[in-house]
């Protein structure tokens, strides 16, 4: 007897939960033959707002985790991805990849998680500095995370772009609200399920699906988003973000990178989302500058 396939509902990922869009809307991406693949939530500005609230709530504790522990959790994400490899390959194929492409992208994605997991407790040493100053002070600069980062992920792939923009962000102790590729939303939500089972605290990563043109305005106008990563190559939207970001002087990073390339794997993506904090600490001049004391 023919079995009726049970189709999965692809919902949003906000604050560790999987709610539908508060607007109740959805859209239906098509496969290459023009058949509907699934119903996917079409996020509204209010969903974005809810996601920012969740991200803000999660930020404090996440940024205070020991970097080593953040590394462990990022590595755990890689482990969980590895375990569900088949599902990701399957969904990429559903969305129009061929077998080889799909396998290559999933493998690359897993390796990239491991790559950034390794950086969690190392980027600070590389980018921090003790600065020479002409007064009796120790002066040092260290990196502190920016806060809530809005990420608009690359449109042209289903997994590697998403992971390559999320990982540097959380690796450095930020929390984020991510708008997944409108064309390839399935793997984004399945990745959210991986995150939900990877010891990552609720709200550190929030995943929305929907239309970039509708939500881009919300990303730059929200006063509680501290930085925006735009990796989607729409010049018009990038310009709009740059103008709108002035409202609370958010940082904006427009990446025009091919994330499937190895060059996209670098710690500067972590450093981008950090502010430099410089501290002046007085030192007592017991015996004078040239003393051998």
């Amino acid at each position: 007897m023919a079995r009726l396939e049970v189709l999965k509902t692809y919902k949003l990922y906000i604050g560790g939960q999987f709610p539908r869009s508060e607007s109740g809307r959805y859209y239906t991406p098509l496969d290459q033959a023009g058949n509907p693949i699934a119903n996917v939530s079409l996020s509204s500005k209010k969903d974005l707002k809810n996601a920012v609230v969740a991200a803000r709530k999660a930020f404090g504790a996440w940024s205070e985790r020991a970097p080593f522990n953040r590394g462990q959790i990022c590595y755990r994400i890689a482990e969980m991805l590895e375990g569900r490899k088949a599902q990701f390959i399957d969904e990429l194929i559903k969305q129009g990849y061929d077998q080889t492409q799909a396998e290559a992208e999933v493998h690359l994605a897993i390796d990239r998680c491991v790559y950034y997991a390794g950086w969690c407790d190392k980027y600070q040493q590389i980018f921090s500095a003790v600065n020479p100053v002409a007064s009796p002070h120790i002066n040092f600069s260290t990196l502190v995370p920016m806060g809530v980062v809005g990420v608009i992920a690359p449109q042209n792939n289903g997994l590697i772009g998403l992971i390559s923009t999320i990982l540097p962000c959380i690796c450095g102790g930020n929390s984020c609200v991510v708008l997944a590729s409108e064309k390839f939303p399935l793997t984004a939500i399945t990745f959210a399920e991986v995150l939900a089972t990877s010891d990552l605290p609720a709200g550190v990563v929030n995943v929305l699906t929907g239309s970039e043109d509708e939500l881009v305005d919300g990303f730059h106008s929200h006063m509680d988003i501290n930085a925006v990563v735009y990796a989607n190559g729409h010049t018009e939207n990038a310009t709009m973000l740059a103008k709108g970001a002035a409202v609370n002087v958010k940082r904006l990073f427009v990446y025009d990178t091919d994330f499937s390339d190895e060059s996209a794997e670098n710690p500067y993506l972590i450093a981008d989302l950090q502010e430099v904090k410089t501290t002046w600490h007085p030192i007592e001049q017991v015996g004078g500058a040239t003393s051998s004391y």
């Binding site: 707002k49 920012v52 803000r56 919300g218 106008s221 929200h222 006063m223 509680d224 409202v247 609370n248």
Partner: protein, 306 residues
Amino acid sequence: MIINTTQTQIPDFRQTPNVDKVGVEERCARFQTRSLKGDTKIDGLKRVLSMIDLTTLEGKDTPGKVRQLCYKAQHLHDAYPDLPTVAAICVYPTMVAEAKKALGSSGIRVASVATGFSSGQAPLDVKLMDTRFTVENGADEIDMVISRGRFLSGDYQFVFDEIAAIKAACGTARLKVILETGELGSLDQVRRASDIAMYAGADFIKTSTGKIQPAATMQVTYTMLCAIKDFYRKTGIRVGMKPAGGISSAKLALHNLVMVKETLGVEWLTNDWFRFGASSLANDVLMQLVKQQSGNYQSADYFSID
């Protein structure tokens, strides 16, 4: 304003009506489906601000902290024109004089938690002394806690007498009676405690101290509003309501206003008869108001911390 006094005709509190829990939950769920938009929302938000008892009840409170809170009460967000002030400042008895001085002639009242707050585990003499001290220091409102232990063991007479004695000690100060519903166990008990408090002379009944979870859930508040309605029908005396603890979002506060309006009517929608006991609600309401004005969702970074 009709002032409540200790009633002489009192019902048998063992016969207090039972509460239909399922019905209450269903009704509360329906209040939350209302959506207020535009000018109505702005009006509602401003009304919420005017009903807040801005509260600080911590062991680490200092006169400086109280002065700062009093300043905030008078200047909620100066960048936004024509905002109301909050209704009152709520502090510990030892901070009343400081708050009174800091508020001056602003018209903001000083409420204080007398009577061995928050457990209420003190002898009556101590509670009365606490109350008199607080009133003498200038408190306009007294928030007392009931003896939950006595109540739960069925000694309703004791609880009634205690409230009546404190009421007498309050003089002209209005008395708010805290039931600490999180410790009462069921809505039936909430209803019974509400009745006892109102017949004993409460001017306000209040859900919680803010120290125990759960605090002011909509179900509990609704049960207490219904008790107020029945008391008003029987005696013609208006009693106020103060949910406290756990109401930190503007949305939830607006749902509470809807609930008050639909249960008791518009007469209760002023800060004479309805208050929110809250410390962080004011900022969320302010953020919503500024959002309505500017169109941008706001960040706590741009509002005062306390």
